[in-house]
Amino acid sequence: MAAGATSGGSATTDTYKEARTWLLLPSWVTLSILVLAPVIMMLIYSFLTKEFRGGVIWEFSLSAYDQFFFDRGLFGDEPPKLEWTYISIFWRSIWQAGVATLLSLAIGFPTAYFIATRSEEMRPVWVFLITIPYWVNLLIRTVSMKFLLRDQGPLNDFLINIGLIDSPLHIVNTNFAVQLGLFYSYLPFMVLPIYAAVERYNFSLSEAAADLYASKLTTLRRVVLPAIKPGVIAGCILVFVPSMGSFLAPDLLGGAKNFMIGSLIEEQFKGNAGNWPFGAAASMILLSMVLIILMFSARQQAKADKAEG
C-alpha cells in the first residue's frame, strides 16, 4: 500500500512537470521571438558597418561604439578625444527620467495610500478612475499636454486671469515640460505597485507604533515605509526605465535642445539620414545601463531581505 501510494505520488509529480513544460511553451516561444531575438539582432547590427542610405553592410566594425564615445575630428584622422555630445544626451536622459520618477513618487505615493485606505468596495473604483485617462493613446495625450502648456494655452490663460502672473510662463520646450510629460505618461506605473503594497500592509502595525509613542511622521518613516518599500522600488523602476528610453515626450514637449537618448535612437532609423549600427549601439548602451540599474536595485533588495532574514 505504502509503496503504491508513493509511486502514485511521484507519477502525479511527473505529470505536473510535463504539463508545466507544455503550458509554459507558448510563453517561451513568444518571449524568444519578441524579446530575445530583437536584442540579439540589435547586438549584431551594432557591430556592423553602416550603409549611407540606411541599412547595413555585413562587415564587422566597432565604429558605432567608437562614434558614441570618441571624437576623431571631421575626417576621422585626429587623435581620439572623449565625445561629450552623446554622453551628455545620456546623462540628460538619466536626469530627466530621475526627476520624472521623483515627481511620480511625490504624487503617486499619497494617491496610492489614499486609495488603499478607502473601503473595500471603493478601492477598485478609484483604481479604475486612475486608469481611465490611459485609455487614450499616448501620442494624443502628449500632444494635448503641449496645447495645455503652451504660451497661449489654458494653463497660462488661467494663471493670468487669476492674476498670479502677468505674462505667460514659457513651459513648452523646457526640461520641465519633458519631466511633466514623462511624469504624466507613467504615473499609473507608480501608483499601482505602491497601492498593492499598502493594501497588503497590516495597519495594526501603525496602531502599535502610535501606542508606543511614535508620532505620525515617525510611524511613516520607521514602520510604514520599510514595510511597503518593495512596492515603492517596483514603482520607481517601472517609471524610471521607460522614461529613460522615451522619445514622445522629449520630442513633442522638449524641442531640439532637450534631446533624450530615445529621440537620438529614433533619429538613426528614420528616413535615409539614419545610421543603423549607431542606433543599435546606442540602444545596447541604454539597455546595459538599465540592466545595471536593475541589478543594483535587486542586489540592494536581496541584501535588505537577507538582513531581515
Partner: protein, 371 residues
C-alpha cells in the same frame, strides 16, 4: 488567594482608569451603551463577553484608537479621551501581536523606549532586560517571523511593558495559542502583573481564562455591562440569565415563585417538583423567572437527602477526565446535568443509566435570576 481580591480593593486604592458614561456609536449603530466603570490601580481587570459585545471597542477607546462619542475617560485623574494614542501613557498587547516585521526582537522592544526619548543604547539595554524577564534573551537578534507564536506573544508583552506604562491593555492576547501554552501564559501573565504592579486590563471571550486570572471581571453583552464583580461573585451570584449562562456550565430552570418566607423563596418547576432557594431582590411571589444551579452543586443518592431532593432517572453518564457528567431525567420535569468529581467518588455515588434515584442539593445552591 482570590478571596483577597476584594479585600485588596477595599483598601484605599487609587483609581487607574475611570470610564464615565462612555458611549460609542458608528453612525446609527451603538457599539457601546453608556458604560461607567472604575478600574483600580494594581488591579487585574477583565472585560469578558462574546464577540461583538463591545469589550474590544472599550479597550480601544482607552488606548485611543477609537474616539469616544460621548462621555469621558480618566487616567489617574487626567482626562485622556481626547488625546491621540501616542500621548497616552498606556500600552497595548495586540491580538495579532503586531510586531514590526523588519526589526529585530530587541529593536521591537526598544522602540517604545526610544520614542519616549531614551538614547538608542539606553533603550537597547533596557529592552535586553525586558527580554530577560520574558526569557527570550537568546532571540534578541532574530526577526519576529523566526519565532513561534508563543514567543512572539512574549515579545509583544515585553514591548508593551518596556516603557513602563501606567496601564497595560491586553486585547485577547492568548487567543491564538494552543491550550497548553495558553494555560502556561495565563499564569505567567498573572505573575508578571503581580511583579510589576501595573494595572492590567484584559479582554477575552474565554470565561475560564477570565475566572483564572482576574481580580475583577466586567461581563459585557450587546454593548452593555451585565455584571461587575470578583470571579466568585460572578460565578456564584450571577445577576441575570446572560451571566449565569455565559459563565461556566449551569442548569437553567424555568420556575414560578410560590411563596417567600424569611428570605427563602419556594419555587415550583414543572411536574410537581418544588425547590427552595434564597430570595433575591426584584423577584416577587407569582413571578415566572429562571433559576440557575451549577452542576457541581448537585449530588445523587438512593434515598432523598435531608435538604432538597428531586426524584429522577439516570439518562447518561459521560466521563470527562476529572469529572463524570450525568444527565438526569426528572419525571415530568426538565433534564438536569450533575457533575461528580472523580476525586470525590468515595462520598458521592454514580448510578447506572436507567436507575431511579434522587438529585439533591443544599439549600441555597439554586440562584434565582432577576431576568
Amino acid at each position: 488567594m482570590r478571596h483577597l481580591g476584594e479585600a485588596k480593593l477595599a483598601e484605599n486604592k487609587q483609581i487607574a482608569i475611570d470610564v464615565r458614561d462612555a458611549v460609542k456609536r458608528y453612525g446609527d449603530f451603538t457599539a457601546l451603551k453608556t458604560i461607567s466603570l472604575s478600574i483600580m490601580d494594581n488591579e487585574f481587570f477583565t472585560l469578558l463577553g462574546p464577540s461583538g459585545c463591545g469589550k474590544t471597542t472599550l479597550l480601544r477607546m482607552i488606548a485611543g484608537f477609537e474616539a469616544v462619542t460621548e462621555g469621558a475617560i480618566y487616567l489617574f485623574g487626567d482626562e485622556i479621551a481626547n488625546l491621540p494614542p501616542n500621548k497616552r501613557p498606556v500600552n497595548t498587547v495586540f491580538q495579532n501581536y503586531a510586531l514590526f516585521p523588519h526589526m529585530t526582537i530587541l529593536d521591537n522592544v526598544a522602540f517604545g523606549l526610544e520614542m519616549r526619548g531614551k538614547s538608542k543604547s539606553e533603550a537597547r539595554t533596557k529592552a535586553g532586560e525586558m527580554l530577560e524577564l520574558v526569557q527570550l534573551s537568546q532571540f534578541s537578534a532574530r526577526k519576529p517571523s523566526q519565532l513561534s507564536g508563543g514567543q512572539q506573544q512574549r515579545v509583544a508583552l515585553a514591548r508593551a511593558l518596556a516603557p513602563q506604562p501606567k496601564v497595560l491593555l491586553l486585547d485577547e492576547p492568548l487567543s491564538a495559542l494552543d491550550l497548553k501554552l495558553r494555560k502556561a501564559m495565563q499564569l505567567e501573565l498573572k505573575h508578571l502583573q503581580r511583579e510589576t504592579g501595573i494595572t492590567f486590563i484584559f479582554v477575552t471571550h474565554d470565561q475560564e481564562e477570565a475566572l483564572t486570572m482576574s481580580d475583577r471581571i466586567a461581563v459585557m453583552s450587546a454593548g452593555e455591562m451585565q455584571q461587575l464583580g470578583s470571579p466568585t461573585d460572578i460565578y456564584e451570584r450571577p445577576h441575570n440569565m446572560f451571566v449565569a449562562d455565559f459563565i461556566g456550565e449551569t442548569n437553567l430552570l424555568e420556575v414560578s415563585v410560590d411563596a417567600i418566607n424569611n428570605g427563602r423563596a419556594v419555587c415550583h418547576l414543572g411536574g410537581g417538583h418544588e425547590l427552595t432557594c434564597n430570595a433575591v431582590e426584584g423577584v416577587d411571589i407569582g413571578s415566572k423567572v429562571h433559576m440557575s444551579i451549577r452542576p457541581e452543586r448537585l449530588f445523587m443518592s438512593e434515598n432523598p437527602a435531608e435538604t432538597e431532593s428531586l426524584k429522577g432517572r439516570i439518562k447518561e453518564n459521560i466521563f470527562v477526565g476529572t469529572d463524570i457528567t450525568t444527565i438526569v431525567d426528572l419525571q415530568d420535569g426538565p433534564d438536569f446535568v450533575v457533575r461528580t468529581s472523580n476525586s470525590d467518588r468515595g462520598n458521592k455515588r454514580i448510578f447506572e443509566p436507567g436507575t431511579e434515584m434522587y438529585v439533591n442539593m443544599e439549600l441555597g445552591a439554586g440562584r434565582l435570576l432577576a431576568d
